[in-house]
């Protein structure tokens, strides 16, 4: 998967343009999990939605195995549905309340002609097994299920077409801690079992650290840092990443008492009217003259690290 210089603008009014995603380039390697983190409104969800073709990009392109997903032939376009899937955030909104679990999971099998008649039922039951749900769930409606169970159904639905690549858009943020851990383990297991490539979008840095091999940090529609997971958390290079990581509360009271917190002042500026220069400069302690004038480009720092900061 290759994302090249992707931008997505939303026109809100005649002269009002929201730059949700502004020139992002990423590569996701087969079999890896790339974590995409950032605060709400930073455009991370938009990236996911453009990738799975829910939105058309304003500029740039998304390539899956060399095929431009937004600009390809009809047949290729159809086969892409079977290659890319998405898992959604809200377990209460992501399942059709009028369909049974069996119908929800069976529908993609039917329309893609992956199974027919009795096979559908068998496949549905297999998939329920795969995600750790009892087969008796087939005839149940979503509102009878708990949040964790619904999320499992959502995962089973994404797996029906045996995709290679799955976008996980905040898949565990709506779940309780103990359920969240169950779903995270399930995702990790499935990835290994099926050799899936995941784009894992989340605002929760500890969760992203648990599942990802590499992590990309977004701020106001831009990529500010991209690094292997271990390096990013051990020695964040961008001031924003540093602040984010420092904002994660630690569980151990001793460690929490000792560490130095960076509490960022202010709020994330509006993406409708972003600040000039580096988008992070108004909140950055290390901001210098050049930061307010010129937006820094993403620079290769070696060892697979990329940082967009004048001062790094």
């Amino acid at each position: 998967m290759e994302i090249k210089n992707l931008s997505k603008y939303f026109r809100l009014a005649r002269n009002l343009v929201l730059k949700a995603v502004d020139g992002i380039s990423l590569e996701i390697y087969p079999g890896e999990t790339l974590g995409l983190v950032g605060e709400s409104g930073c455009g991370k969800s938009t990236v996911g939605k453009v990738v799975v073709r829910l939105y058309r990009p304003t500029a740039g392109e998304v390539l899956l195995e060399g095929v431009n997903v937004h600009n390809c032939g009809k047949r290729e376009s159809r086969s892409l549905f079977k290659k890319m899937q998405m898992i959604f955030q809200d377990p209460y909104a992501s399942l059709n309340p009028r369909m049974t679990v069996g119908e929800i999971i069976g529908e993609p099998l039917e329309i893609h002609g992956l199974a027919r008649g009795k096979e559908i039922r068998e496949r549905v039951e297999d998939l329920l097994d795969t995600v750790g749900l009892d087969r008796s769930f087939t005839g149940r409606f979503p509102h009878e299920l708990s949040g964790g169970q619904r999320q499992r159904v959502g995962i089973a639905r994404a797996l029906t077409v045996e995709p290679k690549f799955i976008v996980c858009d905040e898949p565990v943020s709506a779940l309780d801690v103990s359920i969240q851990a169950q779903v995270l383990n399930l995702l990790k297991d499935l990835q290994q079992r099926f050799g899936l490539t995941l784009l894992f979008i989340s605002h929760n840095l500890s969760v992203v650290r648990y599942v990802s091999r590499r992590v990309a940090v977004m701020y106001l529609g831009r990529l500010v840092e991209l690094a292997p997971c271990r390096e990013l958390y051990a020695s964040p290079a961008h001031p924003y990443t540093r602040a984010l990581i420092s904002a994660i509360p630690l569980v151990d009271p001793g460690a929490e008492a000792q560490r130095r917190r960076i509490v960022l002042g202010g709020d994330v500026p509006s993406p409708i009217n972003p600040p000039p220069g580096c988008p992070f400069s108004p909140r950055c302690r290390e901001s210098a003259g050049i930061c307010t004038e010129e937006a820094p480009a993403l620079r290769n720092m070696g060892d697979g690290r990329y940082v967009a900061c004048h001062r790094a």
Partner: protein, 333 residues
């Protein structure tokens, strides 16, 4: 030292279509002056019901306090009339809700919402009130407070709104602040700001704070004492160090093992509690955590465990703490 807030054997029920839901089943809790206490639990464990019952904020019906009482500085809040309670709400006890968008009046300027609280509690001079509001806005970290006073909630960001909520809660200088999941609806960096604010209020102003949260990791940097709730009961209390570093209840252990921690190598697998919390409508006998408990014993299916006192302020409700458990299962020690 006399506790500022004392919750004694509080029981709260909800009438539902499916039967009576026992949301809170006899909890005891004390908060001293200037103390920060965290009440932790997953959704549906009754922590919010308990917190809102302190000020009788739950709509009744369906909610009903069936037994027990809440005492604030020696006064019984549970026995108070609605009118008397209104005097306490806002003036003596401030309350910060989870969702700042729905708890602020969208048609009123935020400054007026703060001033109104002061006015209602006897500060009739609105010019002075406005000055105080300005001061409080500065205190809770609202930048450019003069301009913000005259804005409407929708003009503010999520973090700002949560601060306005805090300002309203602080308007009359309460002695106790109850924060019910104050950071669930906001981003990490804003969460850090709000936790910093709560810490400041408690440390520098000597305010007592009751933090209600589902996020165990917020506790470490904030509260000295922690109470963990499960199925309407407090199953473990202790200092933050005790509970986080040597949890006594298997549920607390499970919760801690469920959190992807920054201190732990990511390759280490999370060990979540299996299953999900029970719905406390006609619960079966025994310990409500038994179906999910990896260490359950025969007794756990029969009788719900009582409280075992392990030390000063350190209490656990689990049969594993019973001396006979140690005798029968020496390998555990």
């Amino acid at each position: 030292m006399q506790p500022l807030l004392k919750i004694e054997d509080l029981n709260v029920q909800f009438e539902t279509r499916a039967g009576v839901l026992q949301a809170v089943r006899g909890i005891n809790l004390e908060i001293g002056p200037g103390e920060a206490l965290a009440l932790v639990g997953e959704s549906g464990c009754g922590k919010s019901a308990a917190a809102q019952s302190v000020l009788k904020l739950l709509p009744s019906p369906p909610a009903r306090i069936t037994r027990g009482g809440v005492f604030f500085a020696g006064e019984n809040l549970t026995a108070m009339s609605e009118k008397e309670l209104q005097r306490v709400r806002g003036r003596d006890i401030g309350f910060i809700f989870q969702d700042p968008m729905t708890s602020l009046n969208p048609t009123m300027k935020v400054g007026r919402q703060v001033v109104e609280v002061m006015y209602r509690h006897g500060e009739k001079d609105n010019k002075k009130n406005r000055e105080r509001a300005l001061e409080i806005f500065g205190l809770v970290g609202i930048s450019n407070p003069g301009r913000r006073l005259d804005q409407y909630p929708h003009q503010l960001s999520g973090g700002m709104r949560q601060r306005v909520m805090a300002a309203i809660a602080l308007a009359c200088g309460p002695r106790l602040l109850i924060a019910d999941e104050p950071t669930t609806a906001v981003d990490v960096t804003i969460q850090a700001q709000i936790m910093e604010l709560l810490r400041d209020l408690q440390k520098k102003r000597g305010m007592s704070v009751l933090l209600i949260t589902h996020d165990l990791s917020l506790v470490a940097g904030f509260a000295r004492r922690v109470a963990v709730m499960y199925a309407g009961k407090i199953i473990e209390t202790g200092t933050a160090e005790e509970v986080m570093n040597s949890p006594a209840h298997p549920y607390t252990r499970g919760l801690l093992a469920s959190i992807p921690r920054l201190e732990v190598r990511p390759e280490e697998r999370l060990a979540p509690v299996p299953g999900r919390p029970p719905v406390m409508i006609n619960p079966p006998p025994g310990c409500p955590f038994r179906p999910r408990c990896p260490e359950a014993m025969y007794i756990c299916a029969k009788i719900e465990p009582g409280e075992t006192i392990l030390g000063q302020g350190r209490i656990v409700s689990c049969w594993l703490a019973h001396p006979m458990a140690a005798e029968s299962r020496p390998e555990r020690l």
